[in-house]
């Protein structure tokens, strides 16, 4: 495993060195990866009201503010997601993707307790066959996620239109919650990073 052996390019923050470059053709993020990264941050924003502000602070704290400079840069990076209303039609570079992943996983780790609580609540509601509305905090997360998703994603995209109903957005939000939990672990960042390239490498 080349986890520690991947050469750190000059000018690249050290913290990104733990994430190796996958062997993909043009060294930019595949379509699915840009969507996944943006949705993961969207889920964090639905969990944490000040999420978008904290993303910037975290980037600064982790010394990634060379890549995620300010609100506008962050907006441009996230709008590489092809499902966005204001899609930037440019690729997300691997370095930019790494920075977003590291920041996201770092924030997820701070939200560990809440994420665990919500997932346990979800499981209990399922066992008792109750709807999500019965758990106040979980319902709040789902409502916020749906609102964020609908206000930012382009409903003319098939992938968005198919997932526009409350039920499917709830399912998406719950899947993302599971993903976030696995991002909080010792190797959470690596696990999430590698999962982004499943089925994309030669």
């Amino acid at each position: 495993m080349q986890l520690n052996s991947s050469p750190v390019q000059p000018g690249t923050p050290v913290i990104l060195g733990s994430l190796p470059d996958p062997t993909i053709a043009d060294q930019t993020c595949p379509r699915r990866a840009t969507i996944e990264i943006d949705l993961m941050l969207l889920a964090i924003e639905a969990l944490d009201l000040e999420g978008s502000e904290v993303i910037l602070q975290t980037a600064q704290f982790l010394e990634l503010d060379g890549i995620i400079k300010d609100r506008v840069t962050l907006w441009r990076l996230r709008n590489t997601n092809p499902l966005r209303r204001h899609n930037q039609r440019r690729a997300l570079s691997l370095t930019e993707a790494k920075a977003l992943v590291v920041v996201g996983c770092y924030m997820a780790r701070r939200l560990t307790v809440l994420i665990r609580q919500l997932l346990l609540a979800y499981q209990q509601l399922q066992e008792q066959q109750l709807s999500m509305e019965h758990h106040f905090r979980l319902n709040e997360y789902l409502e916020r996620f749906r609102a964020h998703f609908r206000s930012r994603m382009n409903p003319r995209r098939a992938a968005v239109a198919e997932n526009y109903s409350d039920e499917s957005l709830n399912q998406l939000a719950l899947n993302l919650l599971t993903e976030l939990l696995f991002c909080t672990g010792t190797y959470g960042i690596q696990r999430f990073w590698f999962s982004l390239f499943d089925g994309e490498v030669a």
Binding site: Q129, R191, F194, D198, G199
Partner: protein, 473 residues
């Protein structure tokens, strides 16, 4: 000297016993690296007996769990694991929140007894704790330094083809096409002429009717449902696209027993979606969302549908539902699955299980959603609130509450839905009628409840009560 290492998390404890190969002199406190495993033990919360084994078990556990989590994260399944020889440890997804870990005991040479198989079902949080224990072990350079996190993205070659979809689609396609073929053939048959009886002999009249009324279906190439005598019998409108009897269609929905098996529901839902998607030709014809309750038999045929609102009823002919209806007369009530189907104005089809869409549980405690019942409960709730105002309210904003109500109109509990509602709750009659929903943990109840939205408006607390999910019609 045996060395023990323990990685402990709330739901999972991983205990390793092994031998170190370095004999350190003068450094008794230093952590010696374990280089050989004698025993690995994994204790999971809720299971008395720990899973245990040697190095082979440990490696199997690490690779199976690790790969499973990567699949879970990416949603891309792989053929990688299955290629290796017999797996000691396997993981399998049971549902959104349940994961099954299967461990086979290592075969002992010369032993005659079959290897034992242990199955452990984990929820997502427990699975995470297991992964985390494993990751901590991998990250620990003093324990089995040769074991490290060995992640590699699944390559394009290794992606498991979603065979299941293909397997389901083929029979569905055959079904649809044979139905179409049969329809074409049947339409070629002359409409049976019923001879006018010349003499009024009732007995004779009956025999002519049956003789002319049973065109032989032998011309049909396949045993399609439409070739049954019932469909071919003389009827005023033999064309399957003729306007259907709406009441009959609705009756089909209520008369039959329901399919509740989640996997069957899932499969049927996919079939239904694909079928509707393929047959819906004129997508621009509808301008707003049309919603229907649709019943589907086990074999995928649509037995009936019911428009949810008047717009949907008027525009039913613009959807493919009519053409897909099974024309077979129901002889025995087969079990059906109910779906909520929405044709959106933007030209998409959405299919969801009816029960899920109504978020009422599959069994046990049901939510009251029928318009009739809600209409009956609403005035009871309104009058209770109106009668229980203690003093003139002082609030100056709208207060919005979600209230759970029993069939007889009594309030079970409520929760404020906006900030003002939380502040002024003591001025309202609600605390007298029911208890507040404790943060996220509603009391579990054993009877059906209805959800209402109650809005109180300043200055005098004028009431607006409506069903939480809106009126269905």
């Amino acid at each position: 000297m045996t060395i023990q290492r323990m990685y402990s998390l709330p739901n999972c404890t991983l205990l390793l016993e092994g031998l170190g190969d370095v004999i350190s002199v003068g450094q008794p406190d230093a952590r010696l690296p374990i280089s050989m495993v004698i025993n690995a033990e994994c204790r999971l919360a809720g299971y008395e007996k720990p899973l245990s084994g040697g190095r082979e078990f440990l490696e199997g556990l690490i690779s199976a769990v690790s790969q499973y989590v990567q699949n879970l994260l990416s949603g891309v399944s792989t053929t990688r694991v299955q290629k290796d020889a017999p797996q000691l440890v396997q993981m399998e997804r049971l549902s959104e929140t349940q994961h099954r870990l299967t461990v086979r005991s290592q075969p002992v040479e010369g032993a005659t007894s079959a290897p034992t198989v242990t199955q452990v079902d984990l929820n997502t949080v427990q699975l995470f704790d297991l992964v985390e224990a494993i990751d901590q072990l991998l990250a620990d350079s003093q324990t089995l330094p040769d074991l490290t996190l060995n992640l590699k993205p699944v390559s394009r070659r290794e992606v498991a083809k979603p065979q299941q979809v293909g397997k389901q689609l083929v029979p569905a396609a055959i079904g649809v096409s044979s139905l179409a073929a049969a329809t074409v053939l049947l339409s070629l048959l002359p409409i049976p002429k019923v001879e006018q009886p010349k003499e009024l002999f009732p007995v004779r009249q009956q025999t002519t009717a049956t003789a002319g009324g049973s065109p032989s279906p032998t011309g049909s190439p396949s045993p399609s449902p439409t070739t049954s005598p019932a469909a071919a019998a003389p009827s005023p409108s033999p064309s399957p696209t003729a306007s259907p009897n709406l009441q009959q269609l609705e009756a089909n929905l209520t008369r039959s027993p329901e399919i509740t098996d989640p996997t069957a529901l899932n499969t049927l839902s996919q079939q239904l979606r694909d079928k509707l998607d393929q047959t819906w030709s004129n997508r621009t014809a509808i301008t707003q969302d049309l919603t229907y309750q649709v019943g589907v038999r086990q074999d995928g045929t649509i037995t009936g549908y019911k428009p949810v609102n008047p717009v949907s009823a008027e525009n039913a002919s613009k959807t493919p539902l009519l053409n897909l209806l099974s024309t077979q007369a129901e002889t025995t009530p087969a079990s059906i699955a109910l779906y909520k189907v929405v044709f959106t104005g933007s030209g998409n089809v959405a299919v969801a299980s009816w029960r899920q869409a109504m978020t009422s549980p599959v069994s046990g405690i049901a939510e009251i959603t029928s318009t009739q019942e809600l209409e009956a409960i609403l005035p009871k709730l309104t009058s209770q609130i109106n009668q229980n105002w203690a003093a003139t309210p002082k609030f100056s904003e709208d207060l919005i509450y979600k209230v759970r109500v029993r069939q007889d109109g009594t309030v079970v509990d409520f929760s404020p839905e906006n900030e003002a509602a939380a502040r002024h709750v003591q001025e309202t009659p609600l605390p007298k009628l029911g208890k507040p929903i404790a943060d996220g943990n509603p009391a579990s109840v054993q009877e059906p409840l209805a959800l209402f939205k109650v809005v109180m408006q300043p200055p005098d607390g004028a009431l607006e009560v409506s069903p939480w999910r809106g009126w269905q019609n």
